[in-house]
Amino acid sequence: MALEVMAKATAPIPLDIAFRVEPGELLALVGHSGSGKTTLLRTIAGLWTPARARVAVNGTPWLDTAARVNLPPHRRRVGLVFQNYALFPHMSAAQNVMAAMDRADPVEAARILDLVNLHGLGDRRPAQLSGGQQQRVAVARALARRPKALLLDEPFSAVDRATREKLYAEIIALRAHLKMPVILVTHDVNEAQLLADRMLVIEKGQVVREGTTAEVMGDPRALHAMGVRELAAMLPATVAEHLPDGLTRLDGPSGPLFLPTVEGAPGSRVRVRIMAHEVILSRARPEGLSAQNILAGRIAQIVPGQGPGVMVHVALGGHEIIARITRRAADQMALQPGDTVHAIVKSMSVARDHIARAPNGE
């Protein structure tokens, strides 16, 4: 049930993009506003038709301008979560969910609402729900359509940071139930890195880079499109112990990591996003330093940036951490691929919403 998309247009925005999403895969479309990512989503849903386009699910075309096929949105089996949710204000949560079913089924609606942690709130109208709850109703409604493709348009942008952290965790947990291709449109690289299997970086309607988040992070052009300050590595880790001083000790790929309280019982697996501009490199293992995390590794590659910076990828036990340092520092230290260095990460430099539970099976 793979989703294939090709779209070309010159107006209202230039667009020349083709990509494919596999069943169960979550692809993040990342780009600045105006890059064309929402237009792509609308093309897939049938809310907009580019000059030349093809959208097919499992080989069956929904849209093929060459063959004059263009199914209206209601005949495409698509689940779309709108940026502002677009719930039906005159219906209860359960009615909203049932509105997307071929035949209204209250039992099934209750089951889907349970799935998105809205147990017992089916009778509430959207106006009586919090922003996070409204987003969950929107996700439930999209799932109730039994979609062959699930499309999420900036679904976390309208909630506060604390709610967003919870919703991230819920989407990650929900992944086990999603057998269809999923597309997440976002301008938030953190979101894409935490949630997506693959990223598609878009600029001015064109693909700058497509690949796993690690691959994308190694590409200077993609970094330029995303904003180089978004450069970060994802490290897998396991919660080891909650310490009495408020820190949590995690077991990382190359020794312990001390971070401010990480939610989750000991043994639970998480992924930690470490921003490249927060990482300091040292040749010798430093002493008398306030930073709590000193990770020894080997330089895998040094990628020059467009400005005064370079990106140093340091391999640690099968994973990578990235340090964005000045070219001057790299020259002074005479860093070369293969060298052993110590990456220094302040505990306090890792934000709470940069830590997420690892998807199942990882």
Partner: protein, 222 residues
Amino acid sequence: MDWTALELSLKLAFWTVVILLPVSILFGRFLAFRRFRGKALVEALVMLPLVLPPTVLGFYLLVTLGRNAPIGQWWHGVFGSQLVFSFQGLVVASILFNLPFAVQPAQRGFQAIPPEVREAASCCGMSPLRSLWKVELPLAWPGVVTAMVLTFAHTLGEFGIVLMVGGSIPGETRTIAIAIYDRVQAFDTSAAATMSAVLVAISLFTIAVTFALSARVGRRLG
């Protein structure tokens, strides 16, 4: 008190509302959602009866519905009666004259629906007709109800065009507004006063009920 005139007015208002209800929904929705060349002209045409003197509209109706005009001739051929100076003629005039009241509030009601809510309806698998029934009408109905109440109240109060197209035939075209005018002309002030008071009461009641209803809807959705 001329009860026949009141009954005739209510009958005229009823038929005007019945015929204009689908027009209000379909045409109001069309103007709310569609963009096309000449839309401003169409909207201006709909609004025209609001600014024209009733005599102007009445004059054109007399000309087009009269026995010498094609429409009048066709009507005469089919029904064997003439359209002007008849109740049917009044209904036609009333429909045209009430177009701005029937279409505008409904159009505003449909325009108030966020576009993405309508898009969500189609992404939920609803056909346009189902979306109209399940999503658009429930959200736009305060506008549609306002349109119908205004049409109803306005028909009760219409004078000039009725006089032009219908005259003052008792039981056929003499509405309550005309009857009041007749009574005043005949210096029968007390009858005119009673009928005026009845008209004020009915109109006030209708409009007040609508406002109360729409306030309740506002609370429900707010």
